[in-house]
């Protein structure tokens, strides 16, 4: 494989944009959530401050090698997804390294970070971590079912598993978006997005409103900083995945930001409206209505 410095440069630049957009977006969303709850909320630059503080903390402890590697895996998962995700269609260089693999690679690469994180926090030895992971994994299994059905429906529709080709097929006006050409699959996918971004009602994994539990329980300082960095990237990249799949992708950064915002907003919107599920409820929920839509999406294209 020949080394292409220009591509690397563009990719890193893209990563920077995505990171900052992710941080900004999260502060906007938190603000929105606070306003709905009649609170004032954070200042818009709070995520940057948090990040700087965490990276700069002096005391750091480690529970062992795997604990140390956990955040590396986690952010590797986020960055890797970014690397294999075509960002801006129409520009060869903003496609990142997506020529190495297709949609299936993306779907399976999601697990990379998840697994590493699970192992890292597992070594932390905190019971809450393990409980959080077990919940997270449980929930994740069924979240992916409607998503898979939707993706297969798309693969049949567009006759390809290449994300680039799927986006290209949606160009030429918003009436060509999957959202219109395959609404059932889009619904199934958007249900699944709710779980993937783990806002309420699917946020028992981290239970952010109570005492800190969930996988990151034992992580602090730099480690937490890394995890927060990853969260910012990952949210944007996941939204980008849905954008590419259902909403025609993006041909420039403005379109990218607009679309990812609304996709992300969808989960926040649902989150503020609905209370949290217990884990067995959320596991079962994805096998009900979203599953029906997923199945329908395939039947329509069979």
């Amino acid at each position: 494989m020949d080394f292409d410095i220009k591509r690397l440069g563009f990719t890193l630049l893209g990563l920077l944009i995505v990171l900052n957009w992710g941080l900004l977006m999260s502060s906007i969303m938190r603000k929105l959530g606070a306003r709905v709850a009649k609170r004032y909320g954070i200042r818009w630059f709070q995520p940057w401050l948090d990040l700087v503080k965490n990276y700069a903390l002096r005391s750091q402890i480690s529970h062992g090698i795997m604990f140390y590697l956990g955040p590396v895996f986690r952010i590797g998962g986020g960055v890797g997804l970014f690397l294999f995700m075509p960002m801006i269609i129409g520009s060869e260089l903003w496609l990142n390294y997506s020529f190495h693999g297709d949609l299936v690679l993306l779907m399976y690469f999601q697990f990379f970070g998840m697994l590493g994180m699970a192992l890292g926090s597992g070594e932390g030895g905190h019971p809450y971590s393990a409980i959080g992971i077990s919940r997270g994994l449980s929930q994740f299994t069924t979240i992916e079912v409607p998503m898979t059905l939707a993706i297969i429906s798309l693969a049949i529709q567009y006759d390809t598993l290449s994300l680039i080709d799927i986006v290209k097929a949606q160009q030429g006006g918003f009436q060509n978006w999957t959202m219109w050409t395959n609404p059932v699959a889009t619904i199934a996918g958007m249900f699944s997005l709710l779980g993937a971004l783990s806002h309420s009602p699917f946020n028992l994994v981290k239970a952010p409103n109570e005492i800190p539990i969930g996988p990151p329980t034992e992580y602090h300082s730099t480690f937490l900083g890394v995890l927060q960095t990853n969260a910012a990237i990952l949210h944007v990249v996941e939204a980008a995945l849905f954008m590419n799949l259902f909403f025609g992708g993006a041909t420039n950064w403005f379109e990218f930001i607009l679309k990812t915002f609304f996709i992300y907003f969808w989960s926040v919107f649902v989150g503020v409206v609905f209370p949290r599920f217990r884990i067995e409820q959320s596991v079962a929920w994805f096998l009900k209505i979203p599953l029906v839509f997923g199945v329908l999406a395939i039947i329509l294209y069979m």
Partner: protein, 1041 residues
């Protein structure tokens, strides 16, 4: 040559002469008796040798008259063989009972001699009345021998025997007289030439003659008296009754059948079939060894009767089939009764005692396997020919019933064998061995192997070279006294030699077989390396492990269905012993064996059906099957799926794999299961193009998908690490079944990639976990925890194993997932595909649980000083990891040749390659590129973190943020037990043990039926007599209608 009449004169003369001996010289009397029997044996066997070399059969006439005015004897090949067998059994039986006979006195010795002599005459004579006389002589002698042990039971049994045989003999005599009346001769040949059935009333003569001989063969249900005799008489006598008397009576029926017609053959075969199935069914409920052997003897006689009844259909195969099965029965049953006599314990569960004398355990196993018809024993080849001929004749019902009966027999015999191998035995005493009681069973044990080899030489297209492997295994068995390491080296060398011999040729000719040979044999070598970790002798391990590998190698080499089946059964036998070696494996070994047997019979039946259609046993001829393809395809698929443990046929697997020894688990999981995959591939290559087969394959696809789902879900709820891996294997094999059933280029590619991967990571995981279990002494994950610090080698191995299994890029597991997606969309199997995908994600649950509960979390106090896994386990593990990493980094190395191989069968819709980039009909993937990208990225991020957190301090175990408490007990802090409680609440209903319940219910029904049915044998001698008469009347009614 000495005239055969001297067999009689020696016997009678010595018996008379014994009367002149002093009362005190009983020892001399027994010795003289043995000499006499030896002389008789010498005469008959010298005739056998001569006749076998091609001499003409001779007829001997008494008093110089011709029949019908004289008695005549015939010495033909059959007669010589059978009388040699009887004299051999008589001699060894006499030797075995030396003390009994000596203590009982001269009369008993004379009776014994007359018994043997009488049986000889029954074989040799051609005169019907003479036959009657000597049947009565033998019957009286038997009644005398039954009460050698003078306890109440034997006296009762003897009386029942006398009444029943008295009546039977009377009917026989009546029949003979009528036959004489109509034919004017007593010579059997004259009678049969005179065509009795043509006379009015002649058919009654035939009825009476045939029915009484049939009754002597103890048909169900008129056989209560015989069961009692088997149970109550001295085992030495029971051995002779079962081996020698039954042989003689069977030959009588054979001799007399020519007087009857085809109708009678059918009746006989039906009567035999009912007996075979019925008595094996009742055998299920037996708890006493000797009565069980009685049921088994009667069952075998029923089978032989069926074969005789089928003679018109079997043609020139008849003698081969009858003799092989007869000899297996003769050797095995005598041997088993003799062992029963040695052990002096009648309860089946007490046979655990037997393992104190390993030689006898081996003999016991030998006899059981030869009764069931496993290779390399004669009955294997006999049953094979029988099934082939039956299906050629379209006698499907008979075929099914014979297999059913054999299966029922397998249930109780293998349960019994399991007791002997594994039943807990806390008795401190042992049993005594006397040389005269040891020689007979040992000799018969050797003979049954020799007979097996000899039988195989008659089988068409059978490569006798396979016996070299068996001979090698025998040598390893004889070297069992050596330390394990030596035997381990020998075993590795032997597998290496076979690989060396097989692999290069296959590489250029047959990629499919090459890959499976790699998995079987190289995998075998690797798992054997782990065996160095075991100290001591490891008795019995190496012969059976090699037996399994020999079977696997033969499956690969096989060019005919017979050879394939031969290998398949050897593999089953070997793996059965491997599995049952585990600590609590008695029940698992049995259920493995039963599923395997049922599967093997399905395969056998399918091979038979295919032979019926194509008249060829070449494996390639499967492709020519047209008519019955749905049935054949389904039967074969079911047979192979018992090995791949597909849903419904999987219940044997978790226990068997979980309880097996640490280095056996990978053998039976990563390697053995692939035999089923190989079988399925062979099947689909041969028949896959047929649209009817495609329909079955569609069902298989669904089955595979559901297997994958249920297997993974069940794995997520396990607490036992090895059981978890076992369920995971079930599910992985479900993927493979699914992928194979797609029968497309990509589908098969997926299946092959999964097979290779599963071999790699399941070996890694099972070896590692097995090694960990050896160190920590428990299977339960919640009793472990935090072992990463003590066992970094093991942790890394498991980490790589689970990443690969999960299919997370960049490791090779992803290759399977990626191919899978393309294959599913290409094939339009969306919903099945989604189920498989769903189950693939569920895999994360148990993989996390596995690595977390064992290596992460909190270290337990009792495990603080555990060391890392044995180096002997680490070596094969890391060799496998290297293989896995190469496959991951350069997937094209494997995928390209695979693609070429599969193109032969499925040329369309494959991968196209452009350097490392593979393009499928739907997607694209560059394994090497992904690996490099991720590698660079990971290192960069790691560097970044290292830069930022160089000051990180390593802290102690309980230094965690824990709700204002300082935890100090790992047990309360390590979350592991029932970790997926919520998931269980939501989806646990899917893995409710319904299938196990189903099989349990089936088993209950069979046992209840047996319990209910066997009450027929009320113990009342009069009732038994009634059955005898009713049987005669039933035959009469059948005849007139």
């Amino acid at each position: 040559m000495i005239s055969p009449i001297h067999i009689i004169s020696i016997g009678l003369g010595t018996a008379f002469a014994l009367g002149f001996l002093n009362k005190k010289s009983n020892g001399l009397a027994v010795s003289l008796m043995l000499v006499a029997i030896a002389l008789m044996a010498a005469v008959s066997s010298s005739w056998f040798i001569k006749l076998y070399q091609g001499a003409e059969a001779i007829e001997v006439y008494t008093a110089g008259f011709k029949p019908p005015y004289s008695i005549n004897l015939r010495m033909g090949l059959n007669e010589a063989l059978l009388s040699s067998l009887i004299n051999l059994a008589g001699f060894l039986g006499g030797l075995y009972m030396f003390k009994n006979l000596k203590n009982t006195g001269k009369h008993a010795i004379m009776v014994f001699l007359v018994f043997v002599m009488g049986l000889n005459v029954i074989i040799l004579t051609r005169d019907a009345f003479n036959l009657f006389v000597f049947m009565e002589v033998v019957s009286i002698a038997t009644a005398g021998l039954i009460i050698l042990i003078q306890d109440g039971k034997s006296i009762q049994a003897g009386f029942k025997y006398m009444i029943a045989t008295g009546i039977i003999a009377g009917i026989f005599l009546l029949g003979i007289i009528f036959a004489y009346y109509f034919s004017g001769s007593l010579n059997i040949d004259d009678i049969s030439n005179s065509n009795l059935l043509a006379f009015k009333g002649g058919s009654v003569a035939v009825l009476m003659i045939i029915v009484s001989v049939v009754l002597e063969l103890k048909p169900f249900p008129a056989n209560g008296w015989a069961l009692d005799v088997y149970e109550a008489s001295d085992p030495g006598i029971a051995a002779l009754i079962s081996a020698a008397s039954a042989t003689a009576m069977y030959f009588v029926l054979f001799k007399l059948m020519p007087i009857a017609d085809l109708q009678w053959y059918k009746i006989i075969s039906t009567a035999g079939l009912i007996t075979f199935v019925g008595s094996n069914l009742f055998g299920l409920k037996q708890t006493g060894a000797r009565r069980l052997l009685g049921y088994s003897s009667i069952g075998q006689l029923g089978l032989l009767m069926t074969i005789l009844g089928l003679k018109p259909f079997l043609g020139d195969k008849f003698e081969y089939i009858a003799i092989t099965i007869l000899i297996s029965h003769y050797l095995a049953k005598a041997g088993l009764f003799w062992i029963a006599g040695l052990l002096k314990k009648d309860k089946l569960k007490d046979w655990a005692l037997l393992r104190k004398k390993p030689l006898f355990l081996v003999l016991f196993g030998t006899f059981v396997f030869s009764l069931i018809g496993f290779p390399p024993f004669p009955s294997f080849f006999g049953k094979w020919e029988l099934i082939m001929s039956l299906s050629q004749q379209g006698l499907y019902f008979t075929l099914a019933m014979i297999l059913t009966g054999s299966f029922l027999e397998g249930i109780y015999l293998f349960r019994w064998l399991g007791y002997a191998i594994k039943m807990e035995s806390n008795e401190s005493w042992t049993f005594k061995l006397e040389w005269n009681k040891v020689i007979p069973p040992v000799l018969f044990g050797i003979l049954v192997y020799l007979a097996g080899y000899y039988s195989s030489t008659f089988a068409e297209n059978f490569n006798g070279l396979y016996f070299i492997a068996l001979a090698f295994i025998l040598i390893i068995y004889l070297l069992d006294f050596l330390p394990a390491a030596v035997k381990n080296i020998l075993s590795i060398l032997s597998l290496a030699l076979v690989s060396w011999y097989m692999l290069p040729g296959l590489y250029s000719e047959d990629m499919l077989r090459f890959i499976f040979t790699l998995i079987f044999l190289v995998g075998g070598i690797l798992t054997f390396i782990a065996g160095f970790a075991y100290k001591g002798k490891r008795e019995g391990f190496y012969p059976v492990a090699l037996l399994m590998y020999a079977g696997l190698a033969i499956i690969i080499r096989a060019s005919t269905t017979l050879e394939f089946f031969f290998g398949w059964e050897l593999m089953t036998a070997g793996s059965y012993f491997l599995i049952i070696r585990g600590k609590k494996s008695m029940a698992h070994g049995l259920s493995y064996m039963l599923f395997s047997m049922a599967g093997a019979y399905a395969i056998l039946a399918a091979f038979g059906l295919s032979f019926a259609e194509t008249a060829s046993i070449q494996l390639s001829s499967l492709a020519a099957v047209g008519g019955n393809i749905t049935v054949i395809f389904s039967l074969l698929a079911i047979g192979f799926m018992t090995k791949t443990a597909s849903l419904g046929l999987h219940i044997w697997l978790p226990g068997a794999h979980a309880e097996a020894e640490s280095d056996v688990s990978p053998m039976v999981s990563a390697i053995l299961l692939k035999a089923g995959v190989f079988g399925l591939m062979i099947l689909m290559i041969a028949m896959g193009n047929n649209p009817e087969a495609t329909r079955v394959a569609y069902v298989l696809g669904w089955l595979g998908a559901l297997t994958a789902l249920v297997g993974n879900l069940a794995a997520a709820f396990q607490e036992d690490a090895k059981r978890l891996l076992a369920y995971s294997s079930i599910s992985q094999l479900g993927y493979i079944l699914f992928a194979l059933a797609m029968m497309s280029h990509l589908g098969w590619m997926t299946a092959m990639v999964y097979s290779i991967n599963h071999f790699l990571y399941k070996s890694i995981l099972f070896l590692t976990i097995g090694a960990v279990v050896l160190k920590v002494g428990t299977h339960y994950m919640y009793k472990m925890g935090g072992l990463i610090k003590n066992m970094p080698l093991a942790f890394i191995a498991v980490l790589i194993g689970i990443i690969a299994l999960a299919g997370v890029p960049p490791l090779s597991g992803f290759a399977g997932k990626w191919l899978f997606y393309n294959a599913v969309i290409d094939k339009h199997w969306y919903f099945q595909g989604v189920i498989v995908f769903f189950s693939g994600i569920i895999a994360f649950l148990y993989l996390f649980k596995l690595i977390y509960s064992v290596f992460l979390g909190q270290l337990k106090d009792n495990l603080r000083h555990v060391k890392d896994i044995s180096i002997w386990f680490a070596i094969p593990i890391y060799i496998l990891i290297i293989g896995l990493m190469i496959f991951s980094a350069k997937p094209d190395l494997v995928l390209k040749p695979l693609g070429e191989m599969i193109s032969v069968w499925y040329p369309n819709a494959g991968l196209s390659w452009e350097g490392g980039l593979a393009t499928a009909p739907y997607g694209y993937w560059n394994g090497t590129g992904v690996m490099i990208t991720i590698g660079i990225m990971f290192m960069a991020l790691l560097g970044w973190l290292l830069l930022l957190s160089s000051k990180a301090v390593k802290v102690g175990q309980f230094n965690i943020v824990y709700s204002a408490e300082a935890p100090q007990r790992p047990e309360t802090t390590h979350v592991s037990y029932n970790i997926y409680a919520g998931y269980n609440k939501a989806l646990g209903w899917m893995v409710a043990p319904k299938i196990t319940e189903f099989w349990d219910t089936m088993s209950d029904w069979a046992h209840s039926l047996a319990e209910y049915g066997r009450r027929l044998y009320s113990g009342n001698g009069q009732v038994y007599t009634t059955y005898v008469l009713a049987y005669i009347i039933a035959f009469y009614l059948i005849m007139i209608f």
